[in-house]
């Protein structure tokens, strides 16, 4: 059986950062991703990132991908396996996978799971009609393949993803009829909201979609007011003519593989759902299994990249690379993550982590 020091499962922003951080200490790393290239969802992030200089703030996600890919390709200690679906993780950290059409398995001394998240669905009549798309899917169509998802779009959800994808739809020449948000407030950054408002897109808070209209594909939507208890207000229904309904109602961690390892899981709504218990060094309760990014906590890509660096260094340290410079570097990233989460927008994450600590 093949053996390596660290296997990273999932090659998005967290996984790429983890592989680089671990390999830079001197250990051998294999990074696996089910897609044909590394990058994860970063490949469609055309906007400039927030954060500080150290996290490449002000740089577009698509440019960060190129930087990280290049660093990985140039690092002789990193082996890249793309088109690789991890099938299972067994005792003694045996990983089975399908690489292209070939079955394989390997053993890792340490495993980092950074499998990201999937979009949540919203319950409403006809929500299975073609034309009801996830916001991430719309981004992929436009920003990776250069295809408009439709001509008239209704955006559901005014969180950062909903606001950013709305802006990107406008950039792609698509009309966004409105953004609706069930909550009384816009959830995303207000600078993103202001950007789409001044381009003429209205945001209706306390509003939701009650039904999609159409026989074979979306031809319209029924909007409805919501009260303070998130109940539909009867009699407020009105129809809008759209050909696409774009859902940005949150993400759910893809934590199935972590469950395989037997790591203790918690249901923490503030972190996105079922997430693994982990300590400050991002080690789970399963020995030698680490996590990073959305799979353990739904957050911005900036945080995912910092978590990747922490998890990568932690895994390397646990294999014996516990040199003072490596330990110091990890402390610096942990401090950086705490700074990033210290403000108003990090409150939800802090609450979620506190809840997990309390459940123990």
């Amino acid at each position: 059986m093949k053996f390596t020091d660290v296997v990273v499962i999932g090659g998005g922003p967290a996984g790429m950062s983890a592989a680089l951080a671990a390999a830079e200490t001197g250990v051998r790393v294999t990074i696996m991703d089910r897609w044909s290239e590394l990058g994860g969802q970063l490949i469609k992030q055309t906007h400039r990132f927030f954060g500080s200089e150290r996290e490449r703030a002000g740089t577009r996600g698509i440019e960060i991908v190129d930087i990280l890919r290049k660093q990985i390709m140039e690092n002789p200690r990193i082996e890249v396996k793309v088109n690789t679906d991890v099938l299972g993780i067994y005792s003694d950290r045996v990983i089975s996978y399908e690489e292209g059409d070939r079955y394989g398995h390997m053993t890792a001394e340490k495993i980092i799971i950074s499998t990201g998240a999937a979009e949540k669905m919203l319950q409403f009549e006809n929500n299975d009609l073609p034309g009801v798309y996830g916001a991430g899917a719309v981004q992929t169509l436009m920003n990776v393949y250069g295809i408009q998802p439709g001509q008239k779009v209704l955006m559901i959800g005014a969180g950062n993803i909903g606001l950013i994808v709305t802006y990107q739809l406008l950039q792609a020449g698509v009309n966004v009829v409105a953004i609706v948000e069930a909550a009384p407030r816009i959830g995303g950054y207000k600078v993103h909201a202001s950007k789409v408002r001044r381009m003429g897109v209205p945001i209706y808070t306390k509003t939701t979609v009650k039904a999609a209209l159409g026989d074979t594909h979306v031809t319209g939507a029924v909007l409805c007011d919501m009260d303070d208890r998130f109940q539909l207000v009867p009699g407020t229904e009105r129809e809008v003519e759209v050909d696409t309904i774009c859902l940005s109602v949150g993400l759910a961690p893809l934590s199935e593989l972590i469950s395989h390892t037997g790591a203790k899981m918690h249901y923490i709504p503030q972190l996105g759902g079922f997430v693994p218990e982990r300590n400050e060094n991002l080690e789970t309760t399963a020995p030698g299994v680490y996590v990073a990014g959305d799979v353990s906590c739904i957050e911005e890509a900036t945080a995912a990249m910092i978590e990747g660096s922490i998890a990568g260094l932690s895994a390397a340290i646990a294999t014996g690379m516990n040199r003072p410079d490596v330990l110091k570097k990890r402390d610096e990233w942990i401090e950086q993550l705490n700074i990033l989460r210290s403000g108003k927008t990090g409150q939800k994450i802090r609450d979620g982590l506190a809840l997990m600590a309390k459940e123990g």
Partner: protein, 162 residues
């Protein structure tokens, strides 16, 4: 009035006016207004300023501008990930002012074009003459456009339709 911004995405006139420098400074030449009203973890405006005019107490605080140091050069306009930096020049005369905005849409206007000036809600608030267009690799697709509008549109005009 933060409730308004929270539910509409539009900053009120009062919020905007609080950001403005002294009348004396406004009469001196171009200055930046950072319409970053919400504390988010972000600081490229500060790190990109060659004149060290943007002060941030912490990563999660709103930027503060030292108007003695700010020259209104606009380098932050294309660096701000929130597209929230605008340069205003109230010294052009003739009842007009210049407002410099970040612009990432197509088509990119040309100098001399007369276009619609859009308000914070996207509705037309007046006409704008494009007096300067900065684009190129350094801007990385965030064009920096200066529009000349009626001085009365100081608070209102924030975008254009080409």
């Amino acid at each position: 009035m933060s409730g308004t911004l929270d539910s509409t995405g539009i900053a009120s006139r009062e919020m905007f006016e609080k950001l403005l420098p002294s009348a004396q400074r406004r009469a001196k030449g171009p200055y930046v207004v950072m319409e970053c009203y919400e504390e988010i973890p972000c600081n490229p405006c500060s790190t990109s300023c060659a004149f060290h005019a943007v002060k941030m107490e912490a990563l999660n605080k709103c930027p503060g501008v030292d108007y003695d140091a700010c020259t209104g050069c606009g380098s932050c306009v294309s660096r701000c990930p929130g597209l929230a930096c605008f340069v205003i020049n109230e010294t052009v005369g003739d009842g007009k002012i210049d407002i410099t905005i970040p612009y990432e849409m197509l088509p990119v206007p040309q100098k001399g074009d007369i276009v619609d000036a859009l308000g914070r809600d996207g509705f037309v608030v007046g006409k704008a003459e494009i007096v300067r267009v900065l684009s190129g690799p350094k801007m990385d697709h965030t064009n920096v456009i200066t529009m000349r509008v009626d001085a009365s549109l100081l608070y209102d005009a924030r975008s254009i339709r080409v």
